[in-house]
Amino acid sequence: MADLMGNDLTRQSASTLADAISQGEVSAEEVTKAHLERIADVDPRVHAFLYVDSDDALAAARGVDAKRARGDQLGALAGVPLALKDVLTMKGVPTTCGSKILEGWRPPYDSHVVERLRANDIVILGKTNMDEFAMGSSTEHSAYGPTRNPWDLERIPGGSGGGSSAALAAFEAPLAIGTDTGGSIRQPAAVTGTVGVKPTYGGVSRYGLVALASSLDQAGPCARNVLDTALLHAAIAGHDPRDSTSINAAVPDVVGAALNGDVRGMRIGLVRELSGAGYQAGVELRFREAVELLEGLGAEVIEVSCPHFEYALGAYYLILPSEASSNLARFDGMRYGLRAGDDGSHSVEEVMAITREAGFGPEVKRRIMLGTYALSSGYYDAYYGQAQKVRTLITRDFDAAFAQVDVLISPTAPTTAFKIGEKVDDPIAMYLNDVATIPVNLAGNAAMSLPIGLAPEDGLPVGLQIIAPPMADDRLYRVGSAVESALVDTWGHLLIEEAPAL
């Protein structure tokens, strides 16, 4: 064990910090303080956090130190700080979902994920920025201003979970929680050179996750390396009777898989439809290199076709807005959050409408209108109904592919991080960022994004997407760990170490 004293605690991995804390080499309080100082130092430029909960974080850290002093058994990540996406409820702590309509709301209850984090003695530093109600791929749609990519402050950190990915890449936290409805964990991981996993749908309880699209949403772990991601995955996964869609089965051994990265004899499928036209040259280049790397490590890589993926984006942008239009109906100013127009001159319906007009941003309004239209009588069959059929076909494509291979791979995102403002007025261009990640949400599979290098043309990170069948999340870690070790052997360090100093 390296002596951490004198080293920058914020540069360490979560597992290193947890070991050092449990060995008494450093206190959890010192670790938390170091990260709070880092946040104070760099976050004015990065804007990863919407709310920093210093007092509670320090109190939680001191609690871990007290437990250790008593000789209590500590969890695998005890005392390690974490950044929490602002879409998960945490009792008494503001939860905005990046929206003005929830400004000032302090939930009276903890989400399941937060309960599990607390139970594992993980220290929650605060809430991270996101596109409003997780609608976006750049975090530019946050009502509280954009988050910046630590690799280049003029660029986006991905979205919707750009606050969480930026917090990792800026060394403000070694762990983060994201949520992924169409790529909101994986695309930010890809463009910030970090690791993110969308678990199998139903693998992590959605209780307390403010819903965007209930049938697609999934919370998951984010970190700077595969093992840390696995440790966090194991901490938050498992059955919860409060979420009817939560899977009642043993959590796959993701930590064991991360510790035993090995792809020898594995069959890996390269999805023909998720590369080629529309993918940036540097992204294609690094992806081809990753394929060669996997072959060199003993995997058999074959090309597979998923013909219906072509319709995934279209189906997604009917299903998501439909569910969102209903999920977001409750923000009406009657019970919590913003209320506008209640001056005695307006009816209750008018107050609801004025509140929603004032509280929602343009992207949210766009999707509510799309969804309201798609669900309308007379249009339902042609839009929502057809989209559900496409969803079934995409699931069948995956089934057929997984009959041939153990995992599928593709680039995570078609491009590296783009400039802030570049696509914000072009919804279709923005939506295309998620073309490779969306099929996974439609079918409920597990998937990881892992850094595989920098695109030569812009020096920005590229992500590899690994996709596993439902409840085979361990395969992601087995493959991801093997790739990561090989790359670290080549480079001498993780890719994130190459991020410029802030």
Binding site: W105, Y109, V210, Y336, V348, S376
Partner: protein
């Protein structure tokens, strides 16, 4: 909102010109201990907003979980209504904005109800004897109730024009089942009576299943009544829907007055508008609500937060096998066992007395005595108080006790009435009322003989008749003794002493 009174046509004339088609949608609160999608309690009458949690207030991030008991109750109701039970069905969201809806959508069922295609036979008395109508059931489905709004200020008691409105979310998420009939043609002039009998029979069924105690006075059963009229042989007319009809009597009146209203409209060259109407208990009439010609679009879609409901065939068969006796079968059995007429049975049913009488008989009271008490004193008392028989303070055990005391000679019939008067008034149980009111049968021979002597002296002619063997004349003397003792004498004993004294035998 239209304040002017509608023209009505005389009912008999209306049903001679038109044939009504009716339809009923009935919402009933299930009697589960917890709500439909969370574990909050369902007790009625708690302080506002004390039986709530993140789920039933629809806080961001909260999620529903289906109450298994509610599903079971719905399946049992479906089976009792001879329905098909779906092997797989889903909940759906019904989307609309209203402040009593915490999520601004209601979790209901839409095109995949749990129970479909059943029927319920109802019997109505007619001049030609009882007539059976088979009411076809289209569907039975589950949903959650909304919160309860109270509007202050304004003169309509409605949200428009109110100074402010208060919401109580205790009711939000209470499990409801909705039972929808197919259109019911062919009832003619009996339409209002059939509608009432159907709702009454539904209520009996739910009580016998124990899925709901159907407290109508607490609003736990609400009916929407559809009525349309057509000339004989012509296609069915446009229907109106009268909402929130909340008592048996109102169901009957709502159908009755709607037939009168629509027939007046149609014969004066008007047309019936498809609309929602509001029923007014005070006048027995309805007024126009919102027009449904521009139907509200609820944008139903399958509830993505819930997994499908998929009851196994074994479970369904197990529930079917454990269904209690159907109310109609039970009536037939009791009628035969008690040896009473159709009319007597119908009267018991109409008075809602069947269950309590059956319970009383089961407790050991002779059926005629049980019927006498419940249909007499008790029914009068319940009617005066405006409550149901089962809500009276008197219990079957009280009747058992009183009947035993009568048999033992410790109470007379007249005293028994006084005992129950006390019990009904809340003075305590049978024995404490007897003790407090000092209701003791005068049975010591000396005082009874003195009273007999007095009576004989007052009616010497009667005394002579009895002595000459006309024992049937003894009644007059016994009556006089009872009168003299204010009913507290043991009549049988008086008679025995009298006959003994005069040396005659029965």
């Amino acid at each position: 909102m239209s304040a002017h009174a509608d023209e009505l046509m005389d009912y008999d004339q209306a049903v001679s010109l038109f044939e009504p088609v009716i339809g009923l949608e009935t919402h009933v609160e299930l009697g589960t201990n917890s709500k439909m999608f969370c574990s909050c309690p369902t007790e009625f009458g708690a302080e506002a907003n004390t039986q709530i949690c993140p789920v039933c207030v629809g806080l961001p991030g909260s999620m529903p979980v289906v109450n298994a008991v509610a599903v079971e109750s719905t399946i049992r109701m479906g089976l009792a209504l001879n329905c098909d039970i779906a092997s797989w069905c889903r909940f759906a969201r019904k989307n609309y904005f209203y402040p009593d809806m915490p999520k601004d959508y209601q979790i209901s069922q839409y095109d995949e109800p749990l129970c479909t295609d059943g029927y319920l036979d109802v019997i109505v008395p007619t001049d030609d004897g009882p007539q059976v109508f088979r009411i076809e059931i289209e569907r039975v489905h589950m949903e959650e109730d909304t919160g309860k709004l109270t509007h202050s200020g304004g003169d309509t008691g409605r949200i428009h024009g109110a100074d402010y409105s208060l919401v109580d979310y205790n009711r939000a998420g209470i499990p409801l089942i909705e039972i929808v009939t197919k259109p019911i043609p062919g009832t003619g002039a009996l339409a209002p009576v059939v509608a009432r009998a159907y709702v009454a029979e539904l209520r009996n069924l739910m009580r016998s299943l124990g899925v709901s105690d159907v407290r109508m006075e607490e609003g736990s059963l609400r009916c929407d009544v559809n009525v349309s009229l057509a000339k004989p042989g012509e296609p069915w007319g446009t229907r109106s829907e009268t909402k929130n009809v909340n008592s048996l009597r109102s169901v009957e009146r709502a159908v009755h007055s709607e037939i009168e209203r629509q027939s007046a409209l149609l014969t004066s060259g008007g047309r019936v508008v498809q609309e929602t109407r509001h029923f007014h208990e005070d006048t027995g009439r309805s007024t126009s609500g919102r027009s449904k010609e521009q139907a509200e679009d609820y944008r139903y879609f399958p509830e993505p937060d819930l997994v499908p409901v998929a009851p196994s065939l074994e479970w369904i068969e197990q529930l079917r096998a454990s269904l209690p006796e159907a109310p109609a079968a039970k009536r037939a059995r009791l009628q035969e066992s008690w040896g009473i007429t159709d009319f007597e049975m119908q009267t018991l049913v109409n008075t809602d007395a069947l269950d309590v009488i059956e319970e009383t008989v089961a407790a050991g009271v002779e059926q005629s005595a049980a019927r006498k008490w419940w249909m007499g004193e008790f029914a009068r008392s319940a009617k005066e108080q405006g409550i149901e028989l089962s809500q009276l303070r008197v219990r079957p055990a009280d009747i058992v006790r009183v009947e035993t005391l009568i048999r033992e000679g410790a109470l007379t019939d007249k005293m028994a009435r006084q005992v129950f008067e006390g019990v009904l008034a809340g003075e305590g149980d049978v024995d404490s009322v007897i003790a407090q009111r000092g209701l003791v049968v005068v049975s010591d021979d000396a005082s009874l003989l003195a009273a007999i002597d007095e009576a004989l002296a007052a009616q010497p002619d009667v005394a002579e008749k009895i002595a000459s063997g006309k024992v049937q004349a003894a009644g007059a003397i016994v009556g006089a003794v009872m009168k003299a003792t204010q009913g507290q004498a043991d009549a049988a004993k008086v008679r025995a002493l009298l006959l003994e004294k005069l040396g005659v035998s029965e």
